[in-house]
């Protein structure tokens, strides 16, 4: 009666016997000190590169909230109707292009939970016939009609508009502003859609809906001149609908990349004509920003500095360790 075959002896494999070949990291000075040094030097290198790149980026930011008597647009702060004001600035040297034209809002919480969810993606995808989802409330219905686009985000859309002139020989030369492609391509082409036009009319497609409460004109009138930039596909609307992560944010308004300004804004005096509609004075500020970008995006010196600091820290650490090691590693220990 041999029970050789039916033995319950466990398998003698590396896994079951916990003998898998393993690498054990060793915290020895021989590894740690050079390791720190290497990481530190690498970081310093990256940091210098980043810092230089960042410094090469020019930014021109002008606040136009209008609070405070001396600032521009102070006349428009208290007016309830749309108001025009001008912002003048001069460039002493060429502002290299391509120049991006942003508007910036600060202390503006687009990331408040209830605000951020107050939209209806189905509707924005072109389905205006359905009733908007509840998150849109209280901007779901107006006059018993569906609001299109519904929700607080759309309702609070930034509606200042800007025109930039270069003062050439005391005459205003309009700087062409390119509003194409300022939103994400996927937003424009995939996420957002206009409802199917009825008899070639976008307005008819939006039949049965009303404009958001705060809006001056209905959504199909956002850019009547350009059907590709109208309705839900309006680039400014798309940009606005992408809610900002932080309370101080920029949003791309236009690009300056046409005509005489392909290489940038030449030196000279400029006037920015602002149609001042959007009230922020109660809680925050608004500004316009002209900037050019590098491979790493807009100007931001933080990353470069962070890399440098980290790099230095690592190098210092390795130095300290080396000193300690050298001091306490009495001769003969390493023999």
């Amino acid at each position: 009666m041999k029970t050789q075959e039916t033995t319950s002896r466990p398998d003698n494999t590396a896994f079951t016997q916990q003998r898998l070949p393993a690498w054990q990291p060793v915290l020895s000075a021989g590894i740690v000190i050079p390791g720190f040094l290497f990481i530190g030097l690498a970081f310093i290198g990256i940091g210098i590169g980043l810092f230089i790149t960042s410094q090469s980026i020019q930014v021109l930011e002008r606040d136009y909230t209008g609070t405070g008597s001396s600032s521009a647009c102070s006349n428009c702060v208290s007016s309830n109707i749309s108001c025009f004001c001008q912002l003048n600035f001069s460039l002493s040297a060429l502002f290299p292009g391509p120049v991006f034209f942003y508007y910036g809002l600060s202390n503006y919480y687009q990331n408040v939970r209830k605000y951020g969810v107050s939209r209806d993606d189905e509707q924005l995808w072109g389905d205006v016939s359905k009733s908007p989802c509840s998150t849109c409330g209280p901007y779901q219905y107006s006059q018993n009609m569906t609001i299109a686009p519904c929700g607080a985000i759309a309702n609070s859309m930034f509606n200042d508009s800007f025109t930039l002139y270069q003062l050439v020989n005391m005459t205003k030369k309009t700087v062409p502003l390119d509003g194409k492609g300022i939103a994400w391509w996927t937003d424009y082409s995939i996420k957002f859609r206009n409802p199917t036009e009825v008899y070639g009319s976008l307005a008819a497609a939006f039949n049965g809906t009303v404009k958001p409460v705060n809006w001056a004109k209905p959504v199909y009138d956002l850019d009547p001149s350009n059907p590709a930039n109208n309705g839900f596909l309006n680039q400014d609307f798309l940009v606005w609908m992408r809610t900002a992560a932080l309370p101080d944010f920029w949003k791309l308004y236009r690009r300056i990349n046409a005509g005489d300004y392909v290489s940038g804004l030449p030196a000279g005096n400029y006037t920015l004509e602002i149609q001042y509609n959007y009230p922020v004075a109660d809680f925050g500020r608004k500004s316009v920003i002209f900037t050019n970008v590098a491979w790493m995006g807009a100007r931001n010196s933080f990353l470069g500095i962070a890399y440098l600091v980290m790099g230095f820290l690592c190098v210092v650490m390795s130095m300290v360790m080396l000193i300690v090691y050298a001091k306490f590693n009495t001769p003969g220990e390493d023999s």
Binding site: Q17, P21, Q24, W125, P138, A244, A298
Partner: protein, 1492 residues
């Protein structure tokens, strides 16, 4: 538990005696034609069993109900439901249900599967076949088990398993017996005899159920396997008692019996077997208890964070006043919420958002990791025992990590420390010792064979495989197997294997136990004796002329052979009884009938043996006896005696009584006979006798057949068997000697008992002198045997005159038939018989230690475990074994506590306490004790100081017997008892009952707040196993009961070492680290969201996509930590076993301390700050949108968390790499898929194309590089810093574990040499420094009790210790001689790998302290140095040892029965005082010598 229930049910029965508390069973055949409702048995449970918990319908509600018993589940469901409140709706409600549903369903599926398995096995069992009598068929028909009803007649065939509890009504056995094997029930491998109900014994024809018309009344179903009472009422009104001997229990197997018929009494769930079957217990591990505290803290943190956010939100809204900004969304109704209301809503919202802080998957992950750990422990080849083909079983799945935290071990002795293989070793007969040297050599040979074979296997078989895995492992293995040859071994592997196969048939019959080499001298004597007998028989001489020595020899072996309950069977036909029946009929019917008439009901057995003097049956009548009455029955004999008082005919001396060796019925080969014994020592003695050709060839209830050389087979008429019981400690048989026709009593029992019962030698003649001499010599030999660790038994005999016997028999019969107090009467009756014995001799049986027990105990000791042995054995045996297995050290003093009363016990304990304090502290006052303590701990590394040992553990052993233990466990004394016991290094409780065992464990566990482990193998250990934190059962010979009750079942005691030191340590450190990591991980993720609240107006907004947030734990970060939690090894198995003190890491809960939770929390918050603010600043002033910014934060958190795990992982296998890679890959894959799947779904985040866009953004990569490094830098720097700090201090490692880890990194040869060196020399030797080692002091011992470090620390920080050192003289020598004791942790310096005082010693004035071995002898322990006797006066100590109190706790242990008085105690103490005196070293071993 079962016991308690049984008791309570019994109590219940007692209290309500009035109402009918019995079960009445009618035969079903009578009611078969009647409708079912008429059947009187209809109320009883049928035989269908159902152990499943659920049915299809009840599964969902019942399972959910059970799951909601876990508080966490309720919490999570509450959170999920909170999501459905629209005002809060933090997450998509359906989504938030996902994890809860996932976790609930995983558990539900697990439960369902388990239940299905139970269902399957139930079905299988229910559909087994058995034969049930059917009236219509007029015969037995096959039915399923589940169709069996109470009241059915069933026919059982040999080797069939009983389907229900059956009352035995008929058996094919001529003696109306039925043998059953109860291994499945109680694990005992021997056969038990069951008896046909008395009224049916005389049935000559086959039992006919149709004629049966009696009614059975018996007790209600209960779970007491050893109890069954009832009676059977016949139609004629006669009642016969029913006892447990009549009941066949469900689950047992019929053996040795062709056929048996019985009526079902209990069926299905009412059977005793099922009632005994309680499910597994739920234990919660210590770690889990600690964890739950921290879960509670997590809840607090969560609430604080929520409250903070709520207040913040209220203020944020408040600051805007009436001018609500455009981004402040009104309620759906368009109304304006006040700041307060908003804050309240927000509080609830954030509870949902931050819910991840309470780790929902923690519980599931822990379960998974534990299952993996259990699997891996199961698979360990080193815990596999080839002999029994069994490996470790983890029966409790959820306390693996407790194995790493044990502090006290309570061990059974027999079968746990010893093999429970009794081997006849030597004997003394008539005062002559036969040392059986050849036998000793034979036993030694088994060891050698074994070790040789072991080497072979390790060189040949195992090596290559190991080589392939890890070369240094293999070389180590060989080394170990060579160096630590198991010094006691059952035999070689092959032999063992054979034995195990054999022993499947018969217990206690391994070759080692069977093949006894006879002592030639004794063999000669036996031969001489029997040849003389033959001669005398031939010449018709009376036997009394035989020289008394020779007759003693003969009687000695006859006693060995027959004074037992061994059953003989033949292997050719397994389990077939060898029959020696001689058809010599005599006309006895009438007398028999007469006897039966005047003794209507009568029990068959003596006090507890089932195979006792049998019943008088007509079948057993045929007999070879010369007497008229063939019946051996007591009544028969009585009658016979009364009838023929006349002297027996002389011719009866020889003549017909003698059996000629003959017989077609005789066994074919006696050598092949198997002995089935109830206990191993019985078997050992019978085998021993057989070696001297005095072989037991057959045993019937009424006669024993013995084959003697030259004489052939002799049949002894067995009149009575007075079974063994623990109070009498002896057993006797009364036989009629076939050679002399004398009524002879053979008694076998413990020496202490028998020696007192030996009759006083006759006056002064030579015979008396000789007897005295024999007595004296035998006692000497007995002492010697005991000193050798042998089990001693004395054999004695007594010849009864017929008159005496008649007198005794009368009272005995009266006792047997007594209704009230039968047991007591029988006991007294036995006492009356066993007096005035004539000593024949004594035997020494070796109770062999299991393999590697001393080594295991030593290494568990070094690991800081306190080992207590609790045994039912007598004190002497226990002490012998304790010495043999190195539990007690010859250098140790032993405090023996034997008290006869509560008061005496109190005094003893008090004295012991005083003694200990005076002896070791030089001051008995409590405060100094405390100062001493704080001093001690002050300069001890925290890691090595066990919080539990507030007392020092001295080199003292405590021995306490069961009686004293009972007093000591009283409420009033238990504290004192504990105080004494805990300051002793080893504690030995002898003669303890199972209940006492469990009480001791409970006491230690509850009072000392320590983790306890109980290990045992027998049914008597069950209660202790159940009480302890971890119960370990030895799946050895004594069967399954302990295993069934245990949490872990081991094949051998020695495996405990690896189980605790390696697996326990690993499981604990893995799980502890995993739990901490879990808390860290969740806190880290939640903190990210919390920081974000500062930038979103505390609106409960989250930048992490809700899907990521919910599945972060379940998917992205789950696998690596599971892998690490399952496979990580902080120190290798070899190092853990070589340095047992690493185990203290777990004992002191060093991997999981409360502060560690908070450190991890702080670290988590710091890391989350980094992970939050680096992206914050990197994306400041940009047009980044919420999720394009949130997704990098999520990625960073994941990378940081995984890198953090990487730092925490000590060993990286490919699985770790793969799992981390998989996690990162999974995250990006899921993100990419998720972000490209649906442009309009996943509201509100709607993160379409986010990840794709991020992957094209260089900033994303830049922050991915810097953030994890910045986040983990402090941790890295801190650990480096600690490392450097320690290293630079030139001495110590942060922890012993780290030291062990360092040791792992060495090449195997260096390691080995270092370890072996450190083993060879105690303590401060100079280790070889490995060449490549970078830091100084790397190998310095960590001070875990090593005296080098203690000394050093003492030297540098405690100058007064020098004084103490000078005064060290006052400490008794025994203490001084111990080089290894150094503090409360009983670790031993010789285990320290190595230390290098030279390399460490900073030059200074104290230099000489630790470099000069002369000034600092290793023998002086730290205890001496740090005693709080700074202004030390050597004289102080002396009085304490010289002025003994009136009575002393310490007494030399004489025989167990030696009378004790205060006077002797005082004397003892004086002697002790002398002994303790420091100058007097010669008497120092007094204790040991007197004790033995």
């Amino acid at each position: 538990m079962a016991r308690e229930r049984a008791e309570s049910s019994r109590a219940h029965r007692r209290t309500s005696k009035k109402e009918p508390k019995t079960r009445v069973v009618h035969p079903n055949v009578l009611y078969e034609r009647v409708k079912g409702e008429e059947n009187p048995n209809r109320h009883y449970a049928d035989n269908k069993i159902k152990t499943t918990k659920y049915t299809l319908l009840s599964f969902l509600p019942k399972n959910l109900f059970e799951q909601f018993h876990r508080f966490a589940n309720v919490y999570f469901v509450f959170i999920a439901l909170l999501n459905f409140v629209p005002a809060l709706s933090a997450f998509q409600p359906e989504l938030s249900l996902a994890p809860v549903v996932f976790i609930l369903s995983v558990t539900a599926i697990k439960d369902l599967w388990e239940d299905y398995r139970r269902h399957r096995s139930d079905k299988e069992i229910n559909h087994m076949d058995c034969l049930v009598y059917c009236r219509t068929e007029r015969g037995y028909v096959e039915k399923y088990w589940k169709e069996v009803r109470v009241g059915d007649f069933i026919r059982l065939r040999c080797n069939e398993i009983l389907p229900a509890d059956v009352l035995l009504l008929s058996s094919s056995d001529p003696d109306r017996l039925c043998h059953i094997e109860t291994a499945t029930l109680d694990g005992e491998t021997n056969l038990k005899q069951r008896q046909v109900v008395r009224s049916f014994i005389d049935l000559d024809t086959e039992f006919d159920p149709l004629k049966y018309n009696s009614i059975i009344e018996c007790e209600k179903p209960n779970n007491d396997l050893n109890r069954f009472r009832g009676y059977i009422i016949h139609r004629n009104g006669r009642r016969d008692g029913l006892y447990k001997e009549n009941l066949l229990l469900r689950g047992c197997t019929i053996r040795n019996t062709e056929e048996a018929v019985g009526i079902v009494i209990y069926a299905g769930h009412e059977t005793k077997a099922m009632l005994n079957n309680n499910g597994p217990r739920y234990k919660r591990s210590k770690l889990e208890r600690q964890m739950n505290v921290d879960v509670f803290w997590c809840v607090v943190i969560l609430l604080v964070m929520c409250l903070f956010s709520a207040i913040g939100h209220g203020l944020w809204i408040f600051q805007y006043g009436d001018k609500r900004p455009i981004f402040d969304v009104l309620s759906p109704e368009g109304t304006d919420l006040s700041p307060v209301v908003s804050a309240i809503y927000l509080f609830l919202t954030t509870v949902i958002v931050f819910q991840v802080l309470i780790p929902i998957s923690l519980f599931v992950s822990i379960e998974i990791v534990k299952i993996c750990q259990v699997y891996i422990i199961h698979q360990d080849v080193e815990l596999y025992d080839e002999e029994t083909d069994s490996h470790l079983q983890c029966r409790a799945l959820n306390i693996t990590e407790d194995l790493g935290q044990m502090q006290y071990i309570f061990s059974d002795k027999t079968g746990t420390l010893t093999e429970n293989k009794m081997v006849f070793r030597r004997c003394t007969v008539a005062g002559v010792e036969y040392s059986h040297d050849a036998n000793a050599r034979r036993l030694a040979m088994y060891q050698e064979l074994d070790s040789e074979e072991e080497e072979c296997t390790s060189h040949g078989g195992t090596l290559p495989r190991r080589d392939s895995a890890a070369s240094h492992h293999s070389s180590r293995m060989v080394l170990r197997s060579q160096s630590t040859k198991s010094h006691r071994r059952t035999g070689s592997r092959a032999e063992a294997k054979r034995a195990s196969i054999l022993s499947k048939h018969t217990a206690f019959s391994s070759p080692m136990e069977k093949d006894i080499t006879p002592d030639p001298q004794l063999l000669d004597k036996v031969n001489e004796c029997s040849s003389q007998l033959e001669y005398m028989r031939y010449h018709q001489q009376p036997l009394s002329q035989l020289p008394s020595e020779l007759s003693d020899v003969l009687d000695f072996f006859v006693a060995l052979t027959i004074c037992n309950t061994v059953v003989v069977s033949s292997p050719n036909q397994p389990r077939q009884k060898v029959r020696m029946r001689f058809e010599l009929k005599s006309p006895v019917k009438t007398i028999e009938d007469f006897i039966k008439r005047f003794t209507p009901s009568r029990l068959t057995s003596g006090s507890n043996s089932s195979s006792s003097s049998s019943l008088a049956t007509s079948r057993s009548a045929p007999r070879t006896s010369c007497s008229l009455l063939p019946s051996p029955s007591a009544e028969g004999t009585l009658v016979r005696l009364q009838e023929e008082r006349a002297p027996t005919a002389p011719e009866s001396i020889f003549g017909p009584m003698l059996l000629t060796p003959q017989g077609p019925a005789g066994p074919p080969e006696e050598g092949e006979l198997r002995y089935e014994a109830e206990s191993p020592d019985e078997a050992a003695l019978v085998y021993a006798a057989r070696a001297y050709k005095c072989a037991l060839v057959g045993r019937l209830p009424d006669q024993v057949t013995v084959e003697l050389p030259h004489l052939g087979k002799l049949s002894f008429e067995l009149l009575h068997t007075l079974g063994f019981d623990s109070t009498r400690k002896r057993m006797s048989v009364v036989v009629r000697h076939p050679l002399t026709d004398q009524l002879t009593v053979y008694t076998k029992g413990a020496d202490s008992v028998i020696m007192d019962l030996i009759g006083p030698p006759a006056a002064d003649d030579t015979k008396g002198k000789r007897q005295r001499k024999i007595l004296y010599k035998t006692q000497n030999y007995l002492n010697q045997y005991a000193a050798d660790g042998l089990r001693t038994l004395c054999i004695a005999k007594k010849v009864l005159s017929k008159e005496d016997y008649a007198v005794w028999l009368k009272s005995h019969l009266a006792a047997e038939t007594a209704i009230q107090g039968r047991e007591e009467l029988l006991f007294e009756s036995a006492l009356r018989l066993e007096t005035n014995l004539h000593l024949l001799g004594a035997t020494g049986i070796e109770d062999r230690l299991q393999d590697g027990v001393p080594e295991t105990i030593a290494s568990l000791r070094k690991a800081g475990l306190q080992i207590w042995v609790l045994t039912g054995d007598k004190q002497e045996t226990a002490i012998n074994i304790a010495y043999a297995c190195k539990l007690l050290d010859p250098e140790e003093e032993i405090i023996t506590l034997n008290a006869d009363s509560q008061e005496a016990c109190a005094v003893l304990l008090e004295e012991s306490l005083h003694y200990i304090q005076s002896k070791f502290l030089c001051s008995a006052s409590e405060p100094s004790d405390r100062t001493f303590h704080s001093d001690f701990s002050a300069f001890h590394t925290p890691g090595t100081f066990s919080p539990t040992s507030t007392f020092l553990i001295h080199r003292l052993g405590l021995v306490i017997d069961g009686k004293t233990l009972a007093y000591a466990l009283e409420k009033s004394l238990e504290d004192r008892f504990l105080a004494v016991a805990r300051s002793c290094r080893s504690v030995l409780c002898c003669r303890s009952t199972p209940l006492q065992k469990s009480m001791v464990v409970k006491l230690v566990r509850n009072k000392l707040k320590v983790m306890t482990l109980a290990i045992g193998d027998g049914a008597n250990d069950v209660s202790m196993i159940q009480v302890a934190d971890v119960g370990v059962g030895i799946s050895g010979q004594e069967g399954m009961q302990a295993v069934m009750a245990s949490d872990f079942a081991l094949p051998r005691f020695q495996y405990l070492q690896k189980l605790l030191l390696v697996h326990g340590h690993w499981c604990y450190s893995r799980l502890a680290n995993m739990i901490l990591y879990f808390f860290y991980k969740n806190a880290m993720v939640v903190a990210l969201i919390f920081w974000y609240q500062f930038y979103c107006g505390f609106s409960g907004s989250a930048m992490i996509d809700q899907w990521f947030l919910i599945f972060f734990n379940l998917m992205f970060s789950a696998f690596p930590q599971l892998i690490t939690g399952t496979l990580d090894k902080d120190v290798s198995a070899e190092t853990l076993q070589d340095l047992p003190q690493l185990y203290m890491n777990g004992q002191n809960s060093e991997e999981y301390k409360p502060y560690m939770f908070w450190m991890n929390m702080i670290d988590a918050f710091y890391q989350s700050l980094i992970c939050f603010f680096i992206p914050y600043f990197a994306y400041a002033d940009s047009d980044v949108d919420l999720f394009t910014w949130g997704t990098p934060v999520t990625s960073l958190a994941l990378l940081t968390i995984l890198l953090h795990l990487g730092i925490e992982t000590k060993t990286w296998t490919w699985l770790n790499w793969a799992s981390i890679a998989f996690s990162i890959g999974l995250f990006f894959m899921v993100a990419l898929c998720y972000h490209s799947s649906c442009p309009t779904c996943f509201s509100p985040s709607n993160p379409y194309w986010t990840m794709q866009r991020l992957l094209g953004d260089p900033v994303f990569y830049l922050i991915c590089v810097i953030t994890p490094i910045a986040a983990l830098l402090p941790r890295q720097v801190a650990s480096q810093g600690v490392y450097f700090y320690r290293a630079c201090q030139g001495s110590l490692f942060p922890s012993p574990v780290q030291e062990g880890r360092q040791l792992d990194h060495l090449p195997p040869e260096v390691r080995r040499s270092l370890l072996s060196q450190s083993k060879g020399n105690a303590g401060g030797l100079f280790g070889i420094r490995p060449a490549h080692y970078a830091f100084p002091g790397v190998f310095q011992n960590h001070g875990a009790g090593g005296h080098v470090s203690c000394r050093r620390r003492g030297g540098t920080k405690h100058p007064p210790h020098k004084a103490a050192e000078k005064g060290g003289d006052c400490v008794p020598r025994t203490e001084q001689q111990d080089p290894r004791r150094c503090g409360p942790a009983p670790s031993e310096a010789d285990t320290l790998p190595y230390s290098n005082p030279h390399s460490l010693a900073p030059s200074g004035p104290e230099d000489h302290l630790h470099t000069d071995p002369l000034l600092d002898p290793p023998g002086v322990s730290l205890v001496n140095r740090v005693l709080p006797c700074a202004p030390f006066n050597p004289q102080e100590c002396v009085p304490l040892t010289e002025s003994p109190p009136a009575s002393s706790p310490l007494r030399p242990k004489g025989g167990e029965n030696s009378p004790r008085s205060q006077v002797t105690e005082g004397q003892d103490f004086k002697e002790r005082g002398d002994q303790v005196h420091p100058k007097d070293t010669s008497k120092e071993d007094f204790f040991q010598t007197t004790l033995l």
